[in-house]
Symmetry: C2
Subunit: 347 residues, 2 copies
Amino acid sequence: MANATLKDVAARAGVSVATVSAVVNGASWVTDATRGRVQQAVTALHYRPNRVARSLKTKQAYAVGAIVSDVTNPFFTEIIRGLSHALQETDRHLVLCDADHRFDLADAHLHRLLDQQVDGLVLIGDSVQEASLARHLEQYPSVPVVAIERDYGLDGVSTLLVDSEQGAHDATAHLIEQGYGRIGLIAGPTEGAGSQTHGRATRTEGWRRALAEAGRPHGDNLIARGTFRYESGVEAMDELLRRPPRPDAVFVANDMMALGAMHALRQAGLRIPDDVALVGFDDIPVSALVAPAMSTMAMPTRHLGRAAHEVLQDHLTDGPGYVTVRRTYRASLQVRGSSLARVAATE
Amino acid sequence: MANATLKDVAARAGVSVATVSAVVNGASWVTDATRGRVQQAVTALHYRPNRVARSLKTKQAYAVGAIVSDVTNPFFTEIIRGLSHALQETDRHLVLCDADHRFDLADAHLHRLLDQQVDGLVLIGDSVQEASLARHLEQYPSVPVVAIERDYGLDGVSTLLVDSEQGAHDATAHLIEQGYGRIGLIAGPTEGAGSQTHGRATRTEGWRRALAEAGRPHGDNLIARGTFRYESGVEAMDELLRRPPRPDAVFVANDMMALGAMHALRQAGLRIPDDVALVGFDDIPVSALVAPAMSTMAMPTRHLGRAAHEVLQDHLTDGPGYVTVRRTYRASLQVRGSSLARVAATE
DNA sequence: TTGACTCATTTAAACGATTAACCTAGCTTT
DNA sequence: AAAGCTAGGTTAATCGTTTAAATGAGTCAA
């Protein structure tokens, strides 16, 4: 026999469907006697409300969608975990889409998600393009959107960011404190003007500010660029090594590249941190596992997931006319082996 | 203005809702003329069918649920990616739940997912308990379930496994070939009798078989046990080192522990692979990044995700009375630095 | 006794699709 | 010319809820 419906329960309890619905939804006006009969019927028939029917009537999807640029990125999976747990508590589903770094895929997902299947949307990382999002937002103005670690220049989108400038500054200042003198930078792709950052200060800025404050060199010849991937970290480090005088420390804009840099240094026969110290950004789990362990800037990842849900929740209860937020979190320095204090001996 | 419904489109095109529905669903009997008028109205009103209403009527959820024991595990995220892509193509959603290694959470998720919200279920890793699954299966016999890398002893559940015995055998045989003589094992938690394996041959068996075939020692004193986590790998390796004669190679049942073992060896001042060679299992991305790179058994991860969807798809089209499958995939050896051929010099 | 008010419950109309069953010309067929 | 088809629709029931409005039985003040 198929699943029991409200009707079945009503019949068994000898009441109307409205009463059963009331009991199920915890309305207060039902007599204890009837409530008892209904509950008995409910358990006897193993009744569970049909969420789809409920959704149709209430126009709530009881689900939020998430589009992530790369599910295999450990930084993002922590966020997903946070989201998943928060949603679980409010009895909502998480509909997850992996864009695999492809904008066309992300767009398709966006399209599908918005077919009134979700109450809200979380965009994690650089998953969907701004134009694409703008277009859809126009058609579904009622669906709140919160973006994590990606700054769309759209109002109507709440934004959760980590303060890259500050983080980069802290990381670089730490290297200075530890006694390093000439501090290089491995940066991400063409920061600054791109739509990615939308005028917000970048990691490059933070690095530069720290060095300027300390009166240290911070010219472009100390900078190499990568694509945030491991291999590009290797190449960038190699390039830095080819430009004497070589730095005795390097701040790397993310951990994946930092690991690549570590590899390059090892290949070049240089010791870490004795010859060249390293600080990364993101605190992905591997960073603690390599030898020497990588110093890095930890993101409030799990918290970002929860926060995303909280913001969404607020937007949903506030209804249309909710006011978007923009929050900036601070990354915190994790000191590990790769940036141990320089010992006296200057080569 | 809210989203247009079938009715609105029908009114604008001057036809009945049934006709519009037919056009939208690509029925063939509609005249080209009317079809044109309808399509015009559809685009004019930006009509998109309400999937919830459709679901209610057709009793299909157009979604599959997945419960994963740990979203942050890179091995699982690859599977999720595969699933996500496959689902995208059949216009279904992925509802993802992270159990965070907690059975109570997994159970709650299972409960919620089955409230007629999904067409099928994918269980990834050791997420839900057998008893829990059995109980729910009884109540929702129509929802097909496929389990990945976890062998429930339940019929009605399709199972996708990787051949652990064979993989362990290959890894161990490889070490023998490379010239190593005394080969240890770091195994997972109490394999064998547990519900986890359900009588299927384990990694320990594979290790033992390879050594037996080669006439090498394979006693219990060569075995240490861990919990599949990094720290336990460190401890297990330490323990192995405390039991002379020490092995000159170790097969480790998963990569996380292998990385831990690598750390322990380094602490002990031993070189890899010169003093002790290592082969892991899983081929998580980090394994290629550490130095020396970790040899390991690669899983057909992405393929598992796709396969899970294919099996589910088959079950769905076959309707009730579908026949469950059980497939075993083979892990393939990735030779890297940690198991380079032993050079002549025997200490 | 009669309204006016509660209180506990029922009735019935939605929500937005799908789909079986019915309708109506216009053409064959016999 | 009557019956039978077919192509091209339309009508209306239905999926399982929620919920505003209606109902009916007490209670109580006037």
